[in-house]
């Protein structure tokens, strides 16, 4: 029998380290904003014959695109990011490349003006906050017969924000290593992670509620621990089945949704961890009034016993 609740500070330490890494990487590397957030145009093109990336860069330079970002995709196509270009400029860009390299197929062209890009960033932020507030309110309502329903809601939301933060961290590191960008689909993935993570947490909380009503123990920590244990197989099995599907889509589903699937992949793994190892433990910490322990290492104030 694993003592999930007893090891709570070890779990908090793990998450604390992850969050620290995240703060550093987000501060240093930030996120690579895609066209949705930074505005500009992104073109994915395919050539009939193999092309050297350096030659393509020179060709773009000659066409006047000195700031172009060029990436080779796993399928051998090229992804090019330039400033926002008009339909006419797009035509002259492709004909310019055709003159040099032969037939060019534009697989994907995406262009966003600065007007809409600024709004996207703002709306995405609003969406996550609104989702968190509504979920908090619903959980408080669903647990209204329990003492202090808002405490349950808060303890469910904190691990979700923790999950989102870790997903951001992973993408910040990937952006630094591989130039992976965040776009509107990334935000969709993050909100799906929010939905999925809350799903797991609620199943555990539901069991705690059930076990409290049945009065299996007077000690809250014991109730929480047996609830986590009882739901652990289910959490693992559900995550495994979801991961099967996500992995299959990640590996075989094609480039368009690969990053989107990566968001879900990271989110589901972290969400499963935080639903069993963070959320219920926060309830215990709050119940025992142990919040002070988080700051006991600080030189200010006196350590409690």
């Amino acid at each position: 029998m694993i003592d999930f609740v007893g090891k709570r500070y070890k779990f908090f330490l793990v998450s604390g380290v992850l969050i620290l890494v995240g703060i550093i990487s987000l501060a240093v590397f930030r996120l690579q904003p895609g066209v949705d957030f930074a505005s500009g145009s992104a073109i994915t093109i395919r050539f009939d014959r193999p092309i050297d990336q350096g030659d393509l860069r020179t060709a773009l330079l000659n066409l006047g695109y000195d700031q172009a970002i060029i990436q080779k995709t796993p399928d051998g196509d090229f992804f090019i990011r330039v400033r926002e270009i008009s339909p006419g400029e797009k035509e002259s860009l492709t004909t310019g490349l055709e003159d040099k390299f032969g037939k060019v197929t534009v697989l994907d062209f995406y262009s966003v003006s600065p007007v809409i890009a600024a709004r996207t960033g703002r709306d995405a932020g609003i969406a996550i906050i609104v989702a968190a507030v509504f979920i908090l309110a619903y959980i408080a309502w669903a647990f209204r017969k329990m003492p202090r329903p808002f405490r349950w809601g808060t303890c469910a939301i904190i691990p979700i924000l923790h999950d989102v933060f870790i997903v951001l961290t992973v993408f910040s590191i990937l952006g630094w290593l591989l130039g992976v960008e965040v776009d509107a689909l990334f935000i969709t993935g993050v909100l799906a992670v929010v939905g999925y993570g809350i799903n797991n947490t609620i199943v555990v909380f539901d069991r705690i509620r059930d076990n409290m009503t049945r009065g299996i123990s007077r000690d809250f920590a014991t109730v929480v621990n047996s609830s986590v244990l009882e739901t652990f197989t289910r959490s693992l099995n559900t995550s495994l089945t979801t991961l099967f599907v996500i992995l299959a889509l990640y590996l075989l589903g094609g480039v368009t949704i690969r990053n989107f699937m990566l968001v879900l992949l990271v989110g589901v793994v972290v969400g499963t961890y935080s639903a069993s190892c963070i959320a219920p433990q926060l309830l215990v910490v709050w119940d025992r009034g142990e919040w002070g322990h988080f700051f006991s290492w600080l030189p200010i104030g006196k350590r409690k016993s």
Binding site: D108, V130, F134, I139, G254
Partner: protein
């Protein structure tokens, strides 16, 4: 037992109906022909235009100007011949246009977004009565004006054309021309202008750019031609003249073009990936949960069929993220079954009979299924709103399919799995607890 039996008949009938609706996938049922695929799966162009409302006619309200522009864009799209286009207003000043499967996207963009203000101009004359030429040696022009039938001075523009312009090939020069007819007011104006400019050039301008300047050969009243165009320019112009000039100028603020072959490739790849994922899930369920796992697999098959039939009937426009949403919802549908089976196993271990354990398993798992799915609905709602404000069809696709998927998963988990399990237990076919994954 009797209730379960009727439920079984209902489920089988529903499953049969859903199966009939979706097989074969491109068949026509209840007026819907096949699945409606999004741009990312069949290729096409996604455009968001922003209208410059500061340039509207002051007598018009913002809403009227936008309605006018949208109506004209619709006419242009219809005349151009696009199947299942989508034209809708976003917010106060933006218009979303989706053109699936367009052959020449650049041509389509020129056609749709151009204001297409046609006007006729006369040579600007200097004080000496000679035509004025600018620094580059080009002729300068002024808009031709004439007295209308009500005695008012009016500019000669495309406003007075009948909506029946068409492309003809001229007999003498074998070149494309756009033939147009004036309405009665236009005829009054055009007669005066041609009289005044006999044997002189008359400039024909589109959005301030000269397209041709023929010499007026005779006084004309009711009709005319525009020359100096390529065949595709002539077609575009004819459509634009018939729809009328846009009330306000438009600029593209978001554009996404997807190649049709890439779309087909993505569709194919994600379908295969989805099938492999689903097979793994079913194998896992059967190996781990034994008999209930088999029932969950059947429930999953019914679930997938129901969801696809709803997608086809609504119709839900299937996009790649939409398919991802569907697949994530399969994960959640499995979750409901896992929750129930885990509960059931606990009840069996605590010594309950099979029948009692099935009921207790369902009843006690319900609150968790309900609460977790409702929070998912909340996330879907927020995503739907976000997708709407961004004009991001991919985001909306995900939200819609996930919502439908989760909703139906609640139905299949609590009716299909439950009915099948209860009937199985009551039939006494399988009584060994080992078959339910419990060692006692």
């Amino acid at each position: 037992m009797r209730k379960d039996f009727w439920m079984l008949i209902f489920i089988v009938a529903l499953f049969g109906l859903a199966l009939w609706i979706i097989t074969p996938i491109d068949s026509e049922r209840f007026g819907r022909h096949g699945m409606q695929l999004g741009l990312d799966l069949k290729g096409g162009s996604h455009l968001v235009y922003e209208a410059d409302l500061s340039k509207k006619d002051p007598s018009q309200s913002d809403a009227d100007a936008m309605a006018g522009v949208i109506q004209k864009i619709e006419r242009r799209v219809n005349e151009y011949g696009v199947t299942e286009p989508l034209i809708q207003q976003l917010g106060t000043d933006r218009i979303l246009v989706q053109l699936p499967g367009v052959r020449d996207i650049n041509e389509a963009i020129r056609l749709l977004g151009q204001t297409a203000q046609l006007d006729f101009r006369e040579q600007k004359l200097g004080p000496d009565g000679k035509p004025v030429v600018n620094d580059k040696g080009e002729q300068e022009w002024v808009i031709a004006k004439a007295k209308g039938s009500d005695g008012q001075e009016k500019e000669l523009t495309g406003k007075y054309l009948k909506p029946n312009a068409q492309v003809v090939i001229s007999q003498q020069k074998n070149e494309p021309e756009v033939a147009f007819e004036w309405n009665s007011e236009g005829a009054v104006l055009f007669k005066q202008v041609t009289e005044r400019n006999l044997k002189k050039p008359l400039g024909i301008f589109l959005d301030g750019k000269l397209i041709s300047a023929p010499i007026v050969q005779a006084v004309i009243e009711d009709r005319g031609v525009i020359t100096g165009l390529t065949i595709s320019e002539a077609k575009t112009l004819a459509i634009q003249l018939n729809s009328g000039a846009l009330d306000v100028p438009l600029t593209i603020i978001q554009r996404s073009d997807i190649d049709a072959t890439l779309g087909a490739d993505s569709l194919h790849k994600s379908l295969i990936a989805g099938l492999i994922g689903l097979t793994l899930v079913i194998l896992f369920m059967i190996i781990y949960y034994r008999v209930p796992g088999v029932i969950a697999a059947i429930a999953l098959a019914i679930y997938a069929t129901l969801v696809l039939s709803v997608f086809k009937m609504m119709p839900v426009v299937l996009t790649l993220p939409g398919m991802a949403g569907f697949i994530v919802s399969i994960g959640m549908a499995v979750d409901a079954n896992v929750l129930i089976f885990e509960r059931m196993k606990e009840e069996l271990r605590s010594g309950k009979t099979l029948g009692a354990a099935v009921d207790a398993g369902f009843n006690r798992a319900w609150s968790a299924i309900r609460d977790s799915n409702i929070t998912t609905f909340i996330a879907c709602g927020v995503l739907y709103w976000l997708g709407g404000t961004l004009g991001a069809f991919m985001v909306r696709g995900f939200a819609v399919t996930l919502f439908i998927g989760v909703l139906l998963s609640m139905f299949t988990a609590i009716t299909v799995s439950r009915t099948f399990l209860r009937l199985l237990v009551a039939s006494h076919w399988v009584t060994s607890l080992r078959a339910y994954g419990v060692k006692r």
